[in-house]
């Protein structure tokens, strides 16, 4: 094996890690708000991702009929956000707001929600996995050199997760809305006393987190197919990313998604996928046992 071959393999391997990183990051963003900021355990988060993915699938059918396949995808991302935002808003009003003081019960109730959503998907779209028709610019691959070839969809997801992270960071730390969210999460009573409508903040943050899950689900349709149980496959990884990074820290989520993504894909190079996953998860769990507050911890008065 020549040096250039090793070089291009390293690049492609690194990109595989970056791809997994962007997937994890995009999944974890919504949860970083819902769980990291609000402290709500939403076990149905994966199903919101599936909902976003199914929305894209539906739109691709419409787009095929009216012939605008080349341009529908950005629109589909937006629609996926809006749909999951609305469903998340409804869920908060009906269920979540009654359970803020009972986190363990929230966990169980949202697990019930996830079961119901899975069954709705199964009856609406069938048990088989579906994939939307992708525009050409998303399904090819980029040839960087003779030996280096990376999939266009991976680049797209990477760019999208970068964009989404930036957007969330600006909204949380540079906007007045973000200020009210952080104030509410740090001290609900005082936030209410200075005139913040904390119930409204809760509702909007939860819905926004769900909307981000929808965008994540929509983006994943470019790299994998969607089935009724797709969401539940990711939920534990997503929670681990947020917990590992240190809840309430957006930078922590970024760093932990990067560590887990690169670590797992590097291990996959040397051993079977399942062993790589086991070793990654065991390391994460062991590190969390030694350092329960996660990688980056923000001290918050409770």
């Amino acid at each position: 094996m020549s040096a250039s071959e090793i070089f291009s393999m390293t690049i492609m391997q690194g990109f595989a890690g970056m791809s997994l990183f962007s997937v994890l990051l995009l999944m974890a963003l919504g949860l970083a708000i819902i769980f990291g900021q609000m402290g709500v355990i939403n076990m149905a988060h994966g199903e919101f991702m599936a909902l976003g993915a199914y929305t894209v699938y539906m739109l691709s059918l419409v787009a095929e009929k009216f012939g605008f396949i080349a341009t529908y995808f950005p629109l589909a991302l937006l629609v996926a956000f809006v749909v999951t935002f609305i469903v998340g808003y409804g869920l908060e009003v009906i269920l979540i707001r009654h359970l803020y003081r009972r986190p363990l019960d929230t966990l169980l109730a949202t697990w019930g929600v996830s079961l119901i959503m899975q069954q709705i998907f199964r009856q609406a779209f069938g048990a088989r996995e579906v994939s939307p028709i992708l525009p050409e610019w998303l399904s090819g691959s980029l040839h960087l050199s003779e030996t280096i070839e990376i999939p266009a969809s991976g680049v797209f997801v990477l760019a999208l997760s970068g964009l989404a992270t930036g957007l969330v960071a600006i909204m949380l730390y540079r906007s007045s809305w973000g200020l009210t969210v952080r104030a509410t999460m740090q001290n609900r009573v005082i936030a209410g006393a200075v005139g913040i409508n904390t119930a409204k903040v809760d509702r909007m943050s939860f819905a926004f987190g769900c909307g981000l899950a929808g965008v994540a689900g929509a983006a994943f349709t470019t790299i994998g197919s969607t089935g009724p149980t797709s969401g539940s496959l990711y939920i534990v990884d997503t929670f681990l990313v947020v917990v590992f990074g240190g809840a309430a820290s957006l930078f922590g989520t970024l760093a932990s998604a990067f560590t887990i993504g690169q670590g797992q894909s590097a291990l996959e190079f040397f051993m079977t996928g399942s062993m790589a996953k086991v070793i990654t998860l065991v390391s994460v769990v062991v590190i969390l046992m030694l350092r329960p507050e996660g990688l980056f911890h923000i001290k918050v008065r409770r």
């Binding site: 402290g39 355990i41 269920l95 009654h98 359970l99 009972r102 986190p103 363990l104 019960d105 966990l107 169980l108 109730a109 697990w111 019930g112 929600v113 996830s114 079961l115 119901i116 899975q118 069954q119 199964r122 009856q123 539940s232 534990v236 929670f239 681990l240 917990v243 079977t272 399942s274 062993m275 996953k277 086991v278 998860l281 065991v282 994460v284 769990v285 969390l288 046992m289 030694l290 329960p292």
Partner: protein, 389 residues
């Protein structure tokens, strides 16, 4: 030993699941079910009762201790796998596996080109080691998890998520190791214990009664734990952890004990499951079965030992009948169960049974406030209640 006795000394505190309801449960599972159900249904009921062990353990951990473990399937599975490994070794003696390319090892190893028995299988030739391992391995794992987490004051939802991750890790590990531990199919075709065929109808009856008696024993033992000083501390810790700590108790040790106790019960259930059903597979280890075990306890009543057993029976029976008749409908029912129990019936079935009593108490409270009672001197009990407040 005197100091240990202090922990388990009876405080004569009233705990739910008093003798009457335990005797009632014993009558139902030892007399009524064997008389009413045919051999097939009774075996199925025996399977449900093995989940009752897990549910009873969860009542202690979650209902009384406030520790929600979403990884009870791990302990159930470890107990079950230990028993299954012993049975599998006995089922794969060199004579009955003579046509394999390597006789004398379990069939799935032979299919996966494994030519020698892996080292961790060797001790499971011994039945006494197996019985010991069934309890010790799960409890040791629970102790490691508990000690690592509780000593660092990790609890609540973080603990739940970590236990869930452990359930996922074990499942991925088992499924990935096709040749070593049977992979996704699990360990199947179990036949005999020391030559005693566990597949015959009479063996199934005997195993049912062994299982039922063990379960009653588990309920009685758990009741004793709850009635002891330890049980009192458990509740105190769930409600005001810092105050218990300031009183000088090591909260972590109490949590570790109760978590290990729950793991032990789950492991016994898993071993009995393997014996009665005749196989063990990763589908009883992972995230979904583990969280379903929580719903058994929640439906039965997270504060009621006896209720948890009924919860396991009711939910499993509903699952079997609904997924036979209307498979589409089952997941809706299950999902709705989670939501309804949490929102409207946090005490589950046991809470519903208790309801008349609750209403009577409320009525009496109301009557004290009514004008025609106000003229009379207040009952001494209400004075006392106000004084302690």
């Amino acid at each position: 030993m005197a100091s240990l006795g202090k922990w388990f000394s009876n405080t004569a505190k009233k705990v739910p699941g008093d003798w009457l309801s335990i005797v009632g449960l014993a009558l139902v599972i030892l007399v009524v079910f064997p008389l009413l159900l045919d051999a097939f249904r009774l075996n199925l009921m025996g399977k449900y009762l093995t989940f009752g062990f897990v549910a009873v353990g969860l009542v202690l951990c979650w209902g009384y201790g406030g520790i929600l473990s979403l990884g009870q399937g791990v302990f159930f599975g470890l107990g079950g796998y230990c028993m299954a490994m012993f049975l599998k070794l006995e089922a794969s003696d060199p004579i009955s596996t003579a046509k394999q390319s390597t006789p004398g090892i379990p069939d799935f190893m032979d299919w996966n080109q494994v030519t020698a028995l892996p080292w961790f299988w060797e001790p499971f030739h011994s039945f006494s080691f197996t019985l010991l391992a069934t309890i010790v391995i799960p409890v040791a794992l629970a102790w490691v998890i508990g000690a690592a987490m509780f000593k660092r004051r990790v609890g609540g939802v973080y603990f739940a998520i970590i236990t869930q991750a452990i359930a996922m890790i074990l499942t991925v590990l088992i499924i990935g190791q096709q040749g070593m531990i049977g992979g996704i199919n699990g360990i199947t075709d179990l036949k005999t214990i020391h030559g005693w065929d566990i597949r015959t109808e009479s063996a199934k009856y005997i195993l049912y009664f062994v299982n039922a008696l063990l379960l009653i024993g588990a309920v009685v033992l758990s009741r004793q734990v709850l009635k002891s000083r330890l049980g009192l501390l458990l509740v105190a810790m769930r409600d005001r952890e810092d105050r218990v700590r300031f009183t000088g108790y090591d909260v972590a040790n109490i949590k570790i004990f109760v978590f290990c106790f729950g793991a032990m019960l789950a492991a016994v259930g898993g071993a009995m499951f393997t014996l009665q059903v005749g196989f063990m597979s990763p589908s009883f280890v992972g995230i979904v079965p583990s969280i379903e075990m929580v719903i058994f306890a929640a439906v039965g009543g997270r504060m009621s030992l006896v209720g948890a057993v009924y919860g396991a029976i009711v939910v499993n029976a509903a699952k079997t009948s609904l997924s036979e008749t209307m498979p589409d409908f089952w997941l809706y029912t299950m999902g709705a169960l989670f939501i309804i129990v949490v929102m409207f019936a946090p005490e589950g079935l046991a809470g519903l049974v208790k309801t008349p009593q609750v209403w009577r108490e409320r009525w009496q409270q109301l009557r004290r406030k009514l004008p025609f009672d106000a003229l009379k001197p207040a009952a001494p009990s209400s004075n006392k209640a106000e004084a302690t407040r």
